[in-house]
Amino acid sequence: MRTSLVLKQRRPWPEICFPNGEWVLALALAVEIAVFSAIGENFFTWSNFFEVVRLSVELGLLALALTPIMITGGIDLSVGSIMGLSAVVFGVLWRDGGLPIAAAVGAALLLGCLAGLLNAVLIAKLNLPPLIVTLGSLSLFRGMAEGITKGAENYSGFPAGFLRLGQGYLWGVVPVQFSVLLVAIAAYWVLLHRSAFGRTLYVVGFSPSGARYAGIPVQRRVALLYFLSGLVASVAAVIYVAHLGQAKSDAGTGYELAAITAVVLGGTSVFGGRGTVWGTVLGLFAISVLQNGLRLAALPSEMTGVLTGVVLVLTIGLGRLRARAQRNEATIDEADSMKNSQLAILCCAVVGGSLIVAGTNIWLMRSLRPADIAPARTAARPGKRPVIAMMPKSKGDPYFISCRAGAEEAAKEAGVDLIWDGPTGLDPAKQNEVVEGWITRGVDAIAVSVENSAGISTVLRKARARGIKVVTWDADAAPDARDFFINQATPEGIGFTLVDEGARLLGGKGEFAIITGPLSAANQNSWMEFMRQRVAAQYPGMKLVAMRPSDDDRDKAFAETQTILKVYPKVKLIVTISAPAVPGSAEAVQQAGRKDVFVIGLSLPNLCKRYVHDGVVQAVVLWNTKDLGYLTVYTAALLVEGRTGQGSLQAGRLGTVEVRGSQVILGKPFIFNKANIDRYDF
């Protein structure tokens, strides 16, 4: 049966409401809401609805900006980086440049326009593929943000009137930034679906050469879209800064991928010519409801990725199947369209294949370390056991995994339920979202390892105002934002210990180099600051010649160390201050056969044991991470029961622990070396 290209006179209502097959997605969203209403706590409430909305504004703006670009068949990978650059420039101009807030906002928006313009010129004028151009500008803009701030600078202390834009509520319930999202949605809806301009974008997406023959100025249209996307990304940056109360070079990292996911989930074709604003909005909420719901149900955040993948394949797959069934066209491409039975077999094969992959993975890992893969504790039991929610900076980091072991132990002893969740990578915005989720869910105590103090303190204060006990551990927030800080070691203590140990090995003089984590990691930056101070004050003979990032990646640390050894042959000491990077540096020194080079750093004994015994790594500075996790949960449990005294507290197997002001002191940083490392297993 052939259908011609004649427009139907009367369209049935599903096609009017869901012109692009969005019903599949709407259905998926409905299922999500139904499931999470059943298993999540306080999920189906107005306040949670607005919470979800509030947290999806920045992402929503980027997704909206990407929709028309993808409809024309292009892509813009640089939106997240433009956010970072705008945020940083906004901070610089306001704090260091002394501009009033409004002028700084204006300048940030202007900068976004310029960044968009650069993409536009390269893509439309020079005829370059958008994927390469925006891949290049992704690095360029992020790199400029890092260069301007030296990775470390964190602009905060913005006036309350400005912060209201990202943290305030209209009439007590509606988040202020929601209005910005609404305006953007309306504007893009008019642009795409109610204007001649919008129709031409679809034409461009269907057939650029056809569009040109029809007299459409393709270049100018496309250029305008990239320009707009720069502007919208900088608006998102301003809201991000107001939301978190800080501007740092890592703002918006990875947002481009999340935004693209929302857009394609919303049914926009990556080949161009198809897509709606309505679909993008549905896609956005499908993702943010999923994240929020998993949090409120206290399920591990790794499920987000897995489920997002499943939802993505299912919705798009179903949409494709339906579209094909409807069209039933006899084009060459479709001539061999398969029978349903074949399709069913194929789907089964694919699902089966995925199950095998998943199954073998699980089975393999079980065979690897059965003890470590105990299922995460899920939703709290209905009884009256207190619930303590504990957040690491990054879930996958071996350092935090060893903290968790102690935390679980303390939870068992103190008779509390433990929720362990957090971002899967260093991400201050995600930390805020997780805490917001816990506040909505209603836990008894929150324990946070703070990635960025300025950003998270606002939410922690909010939690305290709701009567939730707040403890910070590993890294502190503002003192008024928490009840206690579990102080395992000050940045000063770590920096000084590392330098002292290095100076001892070098005999007080010589060149050394530092391998850090990501350039913008707050902890590492403050350690380096104290290391520099110590060297300047105590060891005039020592000289820091190079500092390189490892991005917490063992292989990158390995390559960077190799390069340092060659460029700076006089370097006799490598100080590596990221847990996964130390084995990388050690392996590089060992393979280079440089017995004259010392490696020290901050890492876990288990990762470094072999290198310590081989004499490559001389010292690993750390504290007992299991005790840190243990003490954190124990203190939180005591707080909930109101049994914290002055001067000291009784923390289970750790006995009496000193309390100084509002700081619980775990002890001094510990140096692991050949003599003692075998006594520790974490």
Binding site: T261, V306, I356, M365, D553, V567
Partner: protein, 320 residues
Amino acid sequence: MLQRHRREVSLIVAILVIGAVLAVVAPGFFTFANQRDLMLANMPVLIVALGMVLVILTGQIDISVGSQFAICSVATGVFARMGLPTPLAGAAACLVGALMGGVNGALVAWVRIPSIVVTLATMVALRDGLRWVTQGAWVQGLPPGFQWFGQSQAASELITAGCAAVLAVGMNWGLRNLAAGRVVYATGSSPNAARLVGINPRLVVFAVFVLTGALTGFAAAFNAVRFLQIPSNAGMGLELKVIAAAVVGGVAIAGGRGTIAGTLLGVLLLSMIGPGLTFLGLSAYWERAVEGAIILAAVAMDAVRVRSGIHADIVSAQAA
């Protein structure tokens, strides 16, 4: 000749310029030891790029290779711990990779979901799935013969380099001269025309995804044996590096156009920039900005040199 290979020529110019600067300012860059280390460090990018070229040539894309790489690395270690000799563990990792590539390929070729959607989904799902299962734990306690395939370091490095070279040269030759290579170009240029001359484009697409998965496993195994333990977060951002190398190397993202040789030049250029900047003593803080600028300059060069008249194709040239 120059017209047809203008991206390659631009790249060679860029590489020569950077090389000349380095040769004058930091001659240490060209020592054998440094070149060997650079080659080994970029070997995973190179091998995965060989597969990615095929995928992009058929008009598809695979952004899940970074996650596949992590899973294959862990799989290599787990198989080795189960007692398989290292080469067999590596082969098993290739199989795991091929299986994951097969899932991608089947969804793209037969369920007909756009490849960027499928691989976006598998990218996040596989990465988070691995995190969930391992809880971030590294694979430790590998058997003593694991590192360097039980050979000496030099021998193992020679094996690695040899395998990569054979693969690259073989695929470059095969793509030009074998029927199996030509069908990849045909499928990418016009799937309909390919069908009419008797090619099954879906099978081709499926095959290139499987091959990419297997190559990713191969790269992961060869990378794993250089160390004593295997992290579970390997390959972060690998997909971007690989795609950047391919597109900078002149592979058209719309399919049907591009060469292995160009991609190798792309890998070479991108792998020179980072360490090159360290050799020049540039501060790490500005490195990413300079990297981005060099990529943009390299691709803008051929556009500025030969302004093509077909402006209308700007958009079609990118649709993946």
